[in-house]
């Protein structure tokens, strides 16, 4: 046993290992070996006992394939269905290895042959433990990633984002009706998810419905479900989003697009705390935290008669207004870093950084599509990027154009990232002008730092100061 790499979970910390074996001596033998190694064992003398046991799923199961009462494969399938990640070890006679292969297809992880060999069995168990740990780590990592996703997009260093974080914190514990206002792409759903994930309902479902994506005629059945035969095509009873979100949080996204008829039903639901499926007659109690989101000015919608005032006052108790990305440009580097890290793994590129002038261009852009647009741009640039660093030329044209000097882009000739220093094919730029552009650019990239700019340009600091004075560029110096 010395060569075994020991799993991080010690045998005694592991839950019981199920031994499903109808040969009493073999069963006892396996139990003996397992207990000698510090594991706990639970014996089953046949398959039926396993099928009838609805207690805790074991940590690992060793299943003899040649059981007398129930086919071993059926036992495997049963255990696999109870817990798809339960490591199953098949025990089989040497000559029946083909059956073991079949068993592996049914979800078995490993097999040991009879006559039983203690070392072989314990080795298989140790490997199964390692795998179990691995699977758990992956799950832990995944949930950590999801959390980071939620927070990553609402955490920024700008004052606007700090204020937002405070606001979100204040509404976590109670069910106060939050309405999130913000332009498209500012992360309204992420805020709603953060409110759900940070509060006492976090282990219950988070369900979102986008009212803009659903025709008015179907909004009610989406929200409240429908009974079988409620309308043409309703061949089955269907639970609505309210029922799906029971115990958890329901996000009503693009609330401003909800029809007046649906608004009336929603108001009734909020008052009664029950729903009635379309075509149904019974009132079903629901316990749901509602979070709304919209890009519209709901107050104006109320004044225009498109949104019920009474519903407005119920849903907009605590408004949260998301800043646009152009109002928090200082967060752009942080967000770019966040997306770079996450997306470069997704697209399988080892892109590690972004060139300063490319970042500069990103901060100049006005981002009508907000954080979502930034994420898309980073994604596209990653795909375009050939090296380890995203450069200006990897950015979409609309954006890299912004990195060029303040001369207006010539409408007749397309500019490339380098053309500001070269001019178009037939154009000769005076040296003095080239020098001015190069210095302006260096100062912009270094945010006006003369010593850094001098380094980039490959000249001394004093020389650069002289040239700046001569070219009257002192307004570009920080």
């Amino acid at each position: 046993m010395g060569e075994l790499s020991h799993p991080k979970v010690t045998p005694s910390e592991l839950g019981p290992i199920a031994i499903v074996e109808d040969d009493p001596a073999a069963r006892r033998m396996m139990r003996f070996w397992l207990e000698q190694a510090g594991y706990r064992a639970k014996e089953y003398s046949g398959g039926r006992e396993v099928l009838e046991d609805d207690g805790d799923v074991p940590a690992i199961a060793c299943v003899d394939l040649g059981l007398g009462d129930v086919p071993g494969l059926k036992v495997l399938q049963h255990l696999h269905a109870r817990d798809a990640e339960l490591p199953l070890i098949v025990v089989t006679a040497q000559r029946e290895v083909e059956t073991a292969v079949e068993a592996m297809r049914a979800g078995a992880y490993d097999y040991v042959t009879k006559p039983l060999d203690g070392n072989r069995l314990l080795h298989a168990i140790a490997r199964a433990c390692e795998r179990r740990e691995l699977v758990r780590n992956v799950h832990r990592l995944e949930s950590a990633l999801t959390e980071r996703d939620v927070l990553g997009s609402i955490v920024g260093r700008s004052p606007a984002m700090r204020e937002l974080a405070h606001q979100v914190e204040r509404v976590l514990e109670s069910d106060v009706a939050v309405c999130v206002f913000g332009e498209s792409g500012t992360g309204k759903e992420l805020v709603a998810r953060a409110i759900h994930a940070g509060g006492p309902r976090r282990r219950q479902p988070f369900v979102a419905i986008n009212c803009a994506g659903i025709p008015e005629s179907l909004q009610e059945s989406e929200l409240f479900g429908h009974e079988r035969g409620a309308f043409t095509g309703a061949t089955h009873m269907r639970r609505g989003r309210f029922e799906q979100a029971h115990g958890g949080t329901l996000l009503l996204d693009e609330l401003g697009e909800m029809s007046l008829a649906t608004q009336a039903s929603l108001l009734r639901t909020l008052q009664e705390k029950t729903i009635r499926r379309v075509g149904g007659s019974s009132d079903i109690p629901v316990d749901v935290r509602i979070v709304c989101a919209t890009h519209r000015n709901l107050k104006a919608e109320v004044e225009a008669g498109r949104f019920r005032e009474d519903l407005y006052f119920r849903l907009v108790v605590y408004p949260i207004v998301l800043p646009t990305l152009r109002d928090r440009k200082e967060d752009i580097p942080l967000l770019v870093g966040h997306f770079l890290q996450r997306l470069s793994e997704d697209v399988g590129r080892a892109v590690k950084s972004i060139a300063p002038e490319a970042l500069e261009a990103l901060t100049r852009y006005h981002w009508p599509g907000n954080v979502r647009e930034l994420q898309n741009v980073v994604h596209r640039s990653l795909l375009a990027c050939r090296g380890e660093t995203i450069t200006l030329s990897d950015l979409p044209p609309d954006i890299y154009r912004l990195a060029l000097p303040s001369i207006p882009p010539r409408p007749d000739k397309q500019m490339s990232a380098t053309s500001s220093l070269e001019g178009a094919d037939d154009e000769v730029i005076p040296l003095r002008e080239l020098e001015r552009r190069a210095i302006q650019r260096a100062l912009r990239v270094t945010r006006g730092s003369v010593s850094k700019a001098a380094k980039l340009l490959g000249i001394g600091r004093a020389t650069l100061y002289r040239r700046i004075a001569s070219l009257e560029l002192s307004q570009d110096v920080a």
Binding site: D23, P24, A26, M29, F32, G66, G68, A93, K114, P115
Partner: protein, 101 residues
């Protein structure tokens, strides 16, 4: 049974295994005999198969071979084979009783 598929260690567990094995096989031998007398082929195959497994697992090779024969032969042949198997089992039992009693 010298090559008992157990690392030595505790005599107590070996003794326990031997007892379990002997009890189990003696009960199954009865089941086997009844199945053969009834001419119940599938019961015979199932019980013989399980004896074969138990025997092989503890290194009782000859018993395992006899069980395998009974698993695969005709019912008539099984009638005679089963007597030989009972003899082999008695001999084994005596040997084990002497050593582990």
């Amino acid at each position: 049974m010298d090559e008992l598929a157990l690392e030595a260690g505790s005599d107590a567990i070996v003794r326990e295994l031997v007892v379990l094995f002997l009890e189990d096989v003696s009960q199954r031998l009865q089941e086997l005999e009844q199945a053969v007398k009834r001419g119940d082929r599938s019961a015979r195959e199932r019980v013989a198969h399980s004896i074969k497994g138990s025997a092989a697992n503890l290194g009782a090779e000859r018993l395992a071979l006899l069980a395998s024969a009974i698993e695969h032969c005709s019912n008539d042949e099984a009638l005679t084979e089963i007597a030989g198997m009972a003899e082999e089992f008695e001999a084994l039992k005596q040997l084990l009783d002497e050593r582990y009693a």
